[in-house]
């Protein structure tokens, strides 16, 4: 389970405007009828990208100007709602490498970090400037420096925040905790003996 450290993400951005974009919006529940995460990228923001009749809505994700964008930019409280990992899986499988938003719901943030999808929080003011820059000039390269917690894009440069453990995990390639958790199994077994479990006997 050795993972490459993620010290920076650079790419073009796409703006999915709005606050409180929930995980049902990111991937509607009826597309979670599956037993693997394969192909979930196709259903990213499905209900806002297509009309119920299946016609395109000119959603930014489908706008040719933003084709190949790898950084998703959105508003406050991104990823609220359900704990479905299908949401960050859909984002990552649609080709995104990072998300910049005004804030993240906690479970979404943790799920994303585990997948190596950094979620950087910017102030409303910086976010607004970044959004208008991307919309004016879709080819602008956006760089997230995970170590310095700084975003640069064209003339813009502003600080972002990231939970310390997530930053540490990304920089050290330990963002997926499984190896570290497994390493402590003997200690876990000792503790387990002291913790009662529900039983019918």
């Amino acid at each position: 389970m050795s993972l490459s450290p993620i010290a920076e993400v650079t790419g073009r951005g796409v703006v999915v405007a709005g606050d409180d974009i929930d995980t049902d919006r990111i991937i509607p529940a009826r597309y979670m009828r599956c037993i693997t995460f394969d192909g979930l990228g196709e259903y990213l923001f499905r209900d806002v990208r297509q009309t119920p009749e299946g016609k395109g809505t000119n959603h930014p994700i489908d706008d040719p100007q933003y084709k190949g964008a790898t950084i998703l930019v959105s508003g406050m409280n991104f990823g609220c709602g359900s704990s479905r990992e299908h949401a960050p899986q859909a984002i990552a499988r649609a080709g995104f490498k990072a998300v910049i938003a005004g804030g993240f719901a906690e479970i979404f943030f943790g799920n994303s970090t585990t997948l190596g999808l950094p979620c950087a929080t910017a102030t409303r003011k910086d976010l607004t400037a970044l959004m208008s820059l991307i919309q004016k000039n879709p080819t602008t390269l956006v760089k997230i420096d995970v170590a310095k917690l700084q975003v640069t894009a064209g003339p813009l440069s502003f600080p972002v925040s990231l939970k310390a453990s997530a930053q540490q995990g990304l920089l050290s390639g330990r963002y997926d905790a499984i190896a570290d958790l497994l390493a402590n199994l003997p200690k876990v077994k000792e503790l387990a003996d002291k913790i009662p479990s529900a039983t019918t006997s």
Binding site: G110, T114, D180, L181
Partner: protein
């Protein structure tokens, strides 16, 4: 300096600190369902790992099960593949599965407490954000993602950073027709849908003490809608009474030992909180949502706010909500026609929900043209409702009485809204598209308010509809 229940339980379950600075936390009880677990088992197989403590994981099937007819194979082949996969995973890895034929199947957050698996002072995790429900018993319960489900299966632990604790004290007696659902909708409306980010909510005060365990579950259930990953109530005599004699609870002498331990986890009187908020029960009235997030709610006798009236940060979302819902600022929700009434979900599909609503529904009829469905939270709830004749009251009123599952709360099974139907719903989320139709409109409210809407065909103040004439 005293400790909160959260801190005591956290400390007791902490294995150690991981290299990234987070805590490796032991999970006393792990619950799984068919939607968020198959990929986790897949990852275990890929890594060649076993389930470390199979007796600490319990499975049921809830999200995708049809609620009308249960003959297998299900007509939806994807749903059918999911239940079969869960059966195989539980059998391969030695996990107890409350499958449909067991008579114990149901929504995972209703089954856990019903079976007595949910116990005070424990840590509980489940790949479902409404895991906060179990906090009603004084457990510290977290919704987790699928990679974490894998972590818990493989190690019975997960990496997590401690939460801050906000004490939410609610004082006094709720007025007639005001329920636990109204309390939590009011809290979310007041503190915001992201107000709880980084916090566990400790619900306390005389109002909470006066509530039954089932009502406390309704409140803890929706902690996540307020942004709080966990919510809990300190265990008390009511908690122990609810649990006594349940299948998975300790028996005989062991019961007394367990209760003595459970009493120790209660927050100390001098515990220090990161934040405190106080609410007066007398100020809470029946609450209904008008928008596209659970914080966009109003009292039934209030008008829908205009975006300009709201704090600047909430305006854009309010405009988007009005447009989607096709409502106008200044309108009242009372009188708004509905097409569907949904009575169910992990928020409000327990025995007391059906019992309370049945008192008002008895002898009344669902208004013509309204599609009304009642979905018990578990086979156990269903059985008791049948014994008490509650199902009959619902059926005679014109409700479609279904088998247990999540159903139209999230529309993963065939129970879905059609087009832009308006649904009076006892569930927990009013997000765009939540109930299965991209343009469907959800109004969250208490179960009794759902019944009032069903019989009048429009959003109504249940206190007036059911006033003793």
């Amino acid at each position: 300096m005293g400790k909160t229940l959260f801190q005591k339980v956290w400390d007791r379950h902490a294995v150690g600190i991981l290299p990234d600075g987070s805590t490796q936390l032991f999970v006393g009880t792990h619950l799984i369902h068919e939607v968020t677990s198959p990929q986790a088992f897949g990852m275990l197989r890929d890594l060649g790992l076993k389930v470390a403590f199979p007796s600490r994981t319990y499975a049921t099937v809830d999200h995708i099960v049809p609620t009308d007819q249960r003959t297998e194979p299900f007509s939806d082949s994807l749903a059918d593949a999911m239940i079969k996969e869960l059966r195989k995973n539980c059998s391969d890895f030695g996990v107890t599965f409350f499958d449909i034929p067991s008579g114990k199947q149901g929504i995972v957050h209703i089954v856990g407490p019903e079976q007595g698996i949910t116990q005070p002072g424990t840590t509980i995790a489940c790949g479902d954000s409404h895991t906060s429900t179990h906090g009603a018993f004084g457990a510290v319960a977290f919704g987790i993602g699928t990679s974490q489900v894998r972590d818990v299966l493989a190690t019975q632990t997960m990496a997590l950073s401690p939460l801050k604790v906000r004490k939410i004290e609610i004082r006094g007696k709720l007025g007639p027709g005001v329920y636990a659902k109204d309390v939590i909708l009011h809290i979310i409306r007041t503190l915001g849908v992201n107000g709880g980010t980084g916090y566990a909510y400790e619900y306390c005060g005389s109002t909470i003490e006066g509530l039954s365990l089932e009502e406390r579950m309704t409140i803890c259930n929706m902690s996540i809608e307020g942004g709080a990953r966990a919510g809990y109530v300190n265990p008390d005599e009511k908690t122990f009474e609810y649990l006594r004699g349940r299948p998975y609870c300790p028996k005989g002498k062991e019961w007394d030992v367990a209760v003595a331990e459970w009493k120790k986890v209660v927050s100390d009187a001098d515990a220090v909180y990161d934040d405190v908020k106080i609410f007066e029960a007398s100020e809470i009235r029946p609450t209904v949502t008008w928008g596209i997030n659970p914080g966009q709610g109003i009292f039934i006798d209030e008008a829908i706010p205009s975006p300009e009236q709201l704090p600047e940060a909430d305006r854009a979302s309010a405009k988007e909500a009005l447009e989607f819902m096709k409502f106008k600022a200044g309108e009242k929700l009372a009188g708004q026609k509905i097409q569907v009434a949904f009575f169910g979900s992990c928020t409000n599909a327990r025995i007391s929900d059906f019992l309370e609503a049945s008192k008002f529904l008895k002898g009344r009829k669902v208004a013509p043209g309204i599609r009304a469905i009642a979905v018990p939270g578990s086979q156990g709830v269903s059985k008791i409702c049948a014994e008490m004749g509650i199902d009959k009251i619902f059926r005679e009123a014109g409700f479609d009485w279904r088998e247990a599952g999540c159903s139209m709360c999230l529309g993963m099974n065939p129970d879905q809204l059609v087009g832009d139907e308006i649904c009076a719903s006892s569930s927990n989320r009013n997000f765009k598209g939540r109930q299965g139709s991209p343009t469907g409109r959800t109004l969250l409210m208490s179960p009794v308010m759902v019944v009032a809407a069903a019989v009048t065909g429009q959003v109504s103040d249940a206190r007036l509809v059911f006033a003793k004439s």
